[in-house]
């Protein structure tokens, strides 16, 4: 009896110990990226014998789960995500720097900038996207080039009773609102003397930003923009053919195509500054890429996978085929830019600036979104709401006035 017990104990010890040892990579990706990464991983496994497990996690949960799981050792080796997570993850000690060396020239500079923090690169970009003006060619034959033209078209088309909206955009949604504020000179964080972002210089209440906010406020008061339109309302209006123009990104194109809408992509119209000049809207660039966890136990193998399998033109094109974001790998982008949509987004993207990726950004989104809601709900006037938001952000970050 005793011998049997001892034998069982020894067996269990062996089982426990062999659980450590076999080289394996884990990748976390969302529902769109998972099938692509599984295919790429199969090639890597065939060449090196290293198993790769791609785990699918809902995109909205990826960042939070990574922050919780990585320090316990349960996290992935490689994480597929957005560039604005970089600051928060680096500050929590969760990302490993990646040195591309001379190969950095193969990538879109905006993409690399998005994943850089404190002078180091923490991710390899594979898709750079920004918003532009998407319009229904049946309702709006020629897209407007200035905001005044847009207002005229919207005034002609909008008929709330029958559910037709000349212009619609998700609100409150600071990401889509930023082009209006940046046209006149609004910005989130200014740059400091080292070229990095200065979190205590928040430019959301500059005269240019206030100008954009006043135009937004006026549109809601005139009934030209639905207050509180969320994603479902906006897609419902656009996909049923009742929407003339919308500011959105490449993610909407799939739905527009499926709904059979005759759509076009144009740059966002310029915003009047009030003194006769017009400002060019600068939308945010959002970069999707691949990051390396600092708690990975196979960093060398993971870097091998990233450099020799992910950072190649072939994979960039495969990712583009499944997830149509303009590729960050320059030679792949050249190959796909005969698609007029991609070319149009790319043209707008020349004026795009990457979303700030520092951790303080999460304080910004909440206060900024609230300011837009207060203006839209007519509970505060634009300058009051934006100044309160800036004050709230500075207090939350802990800047001294």
């Amino acid at each position: 009896m005793k011998r049997v017990a001892l034998a069982l104990l020894a067996l269990m010890l062996l089982v426990g110990l062999t659980a450590v040892g076999q080289a394996k990579l884990t990748i976390w990706a969302d529902d769109v990226g998972t099938p692509v990464f599984r295919e790429i991983a199969a090639g890597f496994t065939a060449a090196t014998g290293v198993e790769i497990e791609v785990v699918e996690i809902a995109f909205s949960d990826l960042r939070g789960q990574f922050i919780t799981a990585a320090p316990t050792g349960e996290g992935p080796d490689i994480l597929v995500g957005n560039h604005d997570w970089t600051g928060e993850l680096v500050v929590n000690g969760l990302l490993e720097p990646i040195d591309l060396g001379l190969r950095a020239a193969e990538f879109n500079a905006v993409g690399l900038e998005g994943f850089s923090y404190g002078g180091n690169l923490y991710g390899i970009p594979y898709g750079v996207e920004n918003v532009a003006l998407l319009y229904n060619k049946d309702l709006v034959p020629t897209p407007p080039t200035t905001w005044d033209e847009l207002l005229t078209i919207a005034a002609d088309l909008t008929d709330v009773e029958s559910g037709v909206y000349g212009y619609i955009v998700q609100n409150p949604d600071p990401f889509h609102w930023f082009p209006m504020l940046s046209a006149g000179g609004g910005y989130i964080f200014g740059t400091d003397e080292n070229g990095g972002l200065d979190p205590c210089d928040v430019g959301l209440a500059t005269p240019g930003a206030v100008n954009g906010a006043i135009i937004f406020d006026q549109m809601i008061e005139d009934g030209l923009l639905a207050n509180g339109a969320d994603w479902d309302t906006m897609t419902g209006v656009m996909f049923s053919g009742n929407g003339g123009m919308v500011i959105s990104g490449p993610w909407l194109i799939g739905g527009l195509r499926d709904a059979g809408i005759n759509y076009g992509v144009a740059p966002i119209p310029s915003i009047p500054n009030g003194d006769g000049t017009y400002g060019t809207p600068k939308p945010f660039a959002s970069v999707r890429g691949v990051m390396l966890s600092s708690f990975s136990e196979n960093k060398t193998i993971a870097k091998d996978f990233l450099f020799n399998y992910i950072a190649t033109e072939q994979v960039a094109l495969e990712l583009f085929a499944k997830d149509p974001r303009p590729p960050a790998y320059l030679s792949a982008f050249d190959k796909v830019s005969d698609d007029p949509d991609i070319a149009a987004f790319g043209q707008q993207g020349q004026n795009a600036i990457p979303m700030p990726n520092i951790a303080e950004m999460s304080s910004v989104w909440g206060a900024w979104s609230d300011a837009q809601a207060l203006i839209g709900n007519q509970e505060a006037d634009p300058i009051q709401a934006l100044q309160a938001a800036v004050q709230q952000i500075l207090d939350a970050i802990g800047c001294e006035e």
């Binding site: 014998g49 680096v90 509970e379 709230q392 802990g398």
Partner: protein, 518 residues
């Protein structure tokens, strides 16, 4: 003495064996990982179960024990952990432990001037020990011995070459193939091999490079020195800070005592948000319970009337709001209440013209009305069921006696029905109040705590209740996560609910005295 039947004893022993085997496996895994707190709990739990099963005196405990184990694991442990976190400064930038941060900083290196890169080959012997052979740009060879590299002559007899000149063995060590190489890289990449006055570290799958450690830590003085720039850092509340104010990221978690609690009480912004959110939470629970009980009781009294036909049918369809999961009905109602496209506003516009469009989600008061309405709709069937049951328990003879004495309908209701009803229903009402107090699902799904309030210091909207406010601070707060502050608020919520429950017990005892008097 009665001997237990052999088959039962066998079953008991087999089950215990399986449990012990699983526990030992779990303990070994936890030991390998280093989770000693869980390991201790698992070990003590298993020992207790074994003791209770075999000891005659403790045998009666066997029915309580699984419940006690789960109570400890799922209730007591999370509470203790939350209280612990609330006394620390856990937030974005401070989520790692000190040991983890020191390990990360120890791994950081910088390249010395003119750092050389070597191509590497890894060899392994039968005992799974490794040796690494490096080849420099000029053909010089370095061989690893333990944790150092030493120069080695190309004509050293240990080196065994094949026809192409590749070194395939060094003594007993054989060159690893690609698959073998990949499986040992994880071990090699964390080591710093000394060589001369620099160190060598893995650069890629087949390369090593010269590095120097970036930080040196003096245990006695607690000073961290950056060996490249010479700047010294001392830790201030979990962050290594230099005299000029620059910091090293990441920081780590340290204990800050009761500061999170005092912040809630003394910091004006947090305190005003707390009072506003607390007031709304109490009002929300109160009105929800009140309205749903009123409607539920009303419907129950109607359904209790024997003269109504089709009572079964009405009862069945009235249950539906309670039966549908809160998740689904909250989202459906959210769609119905949509300001522009929702059915409710469209009906109001049709009936009263477009001035009647109500900004359900955008106006603070209307958002609150909407939430109370939806929660009442979801809860009144529950109140209807418990009222039906309680109404049955009131003997009809009392009503007849009251009618004979000349009591009116209203008097019968307020003097007979309500007091007797409340005896059985009061604890359920208080339980419902406590549940609604913490009803995260409905509030977060429908409004997310918004619409926003001007000049709020923390993410606290007009419809935030305490628990949704805690969630927003924890995951949408300053710089991302403010887990410590959120834990402190969670502990305060716990104290409030515990007080409500204590009052619950007192209250039911008081009503029992009333019953005895009747």
């Amino acid at each position: 003495m009665k001997r237990p039947r052999l088959s039962l004893a066998l079953v008991k022993v087999v089950l215990l064996c399986l449990l012990d085997a699983a526990a030992i496996w779990g303990i070994i895994l936890l030991g390998v990982r280093g989770s000693y707190a869980l390991l201790a709990s698992l070990g003590i739990g298993t020992l207790l179960i074994n003791f209770v099963s075999f000891s005659k005196r403790a045998y009666p405990l066997r029915y309580l024990l699984p419940g006690l184990v789960f109570l400890f694991g799922m209730v007591v442990y999370p509470i203790v952990y939350t209280v612990y976190i609330s006394t620390t400064n856990t937030q974005t930038g401070h989520i790692l432990t000190r040991a983890q941060v020191m390990e990360q900083l120890g791994q950081r290196t910088y390249a010395p001037t003119e750092a050389r890169t070597f191509s590497s080959a890894v060899y392994q012997d039968e005992d799974e020990l490794l040796r690494v052979l490096l080849t420099g740009a000029n053909g010089e060879l370095l061989l690893s011995e333990g944790d150092r590299f030493k120069d080695i002559e190309p004509d050293n007899p240990l080196l065994v070459r094949d026809d192409q000149g590749t070194i395939v063995a060094i003594g007993d060590f054989q060159l690893l193939n690609l698959g073998g190489l990949y499986s040992v890289l994880g071990q090699l990449e964390t080591e710093l091999f000394a060589y001369g006055d620099t160190f060598l570290k893995v650069l890629s799958v087949r390369e090593f490079t010269e590095v120097l450690p970036l930080y040196a830590f003096d245990e006695t003085t607690g000073v961290l020195t950056n060996l490249e720039t010479g700047v010294t850092y001392e830790h201030v509340e979990g962050t290594f800070t230099a005299p000029d104010g620059s910091v090293i990221e990441p920081g780590f978690r340290v204990s800050v005592g009761a500061r999170n609690y005092t912040d809630i009480l003394t910091d004006e912004g947090i305190r005003s948000d707390f009072l506003r959110v607390f007031t709304w939470t109490v009002l929300w629970s109160l009105f929800s319970v009140l309205f749903s009980f009123a409607i539920g009781l009303g419907v129950a009294m109607l359904l209790n009337d024997p003269y109504i036909h089709g009572r079964m049918f009405y009862r069945s369809i009235m249950i539906i709001p309670y039966a549908i999961p809160a998740f689904i009905s909250a989202l459906v109602w959210l769609g119905l209440f949509n300001t522009d496209a929702g059915a409710i506003n469209r009906i109001l516009i049709d009936l009263f013209g477009s001035a009647a469009k109500v900004p359900w989600l955008q106006h603070p008061i209307w958002a609150k009305v909407m939430l109370i309405f939806v929660n009442t709709w979801m809860t009144f069937p529950y109140m209807m069921i418990i009222s039906l049951g309680a109404l049955q328990s009131i003997p009809s003879g009392i009503y007849e006696a009251a009618r004979i004495d000349g009591a009116s309908g209203l008097q019968r209701f307020s003097r007979i029905t309500m007091p007797l009803l409340l005896i059985s229903v009061a604890p359920l009402l208080i339980g419902s109040f406590a549940f609604t107090f913490n009803n995260f699902t409905v509030v977060f799904l429908m409004t997310g705590g918004r619409p926003p309030v001007l000049d709020a210091a923390t993410p606290a909207g007009a419809t935030d209740i305490l628990i949704s406010w805690t969630y927003r601070i924890a995951f949408q707060g300053v710089r991302g996560n403010q887990l410590a502050l959120a834990s402190a608020i969670a502990v305060i919520i716990f104290v409030i609910i515990a007080t409500i429950s204590a009052i619950n017990f007192r209250f039911t005892k008081a009503l029992e005295d009333v019953h005895r008097g009747v």
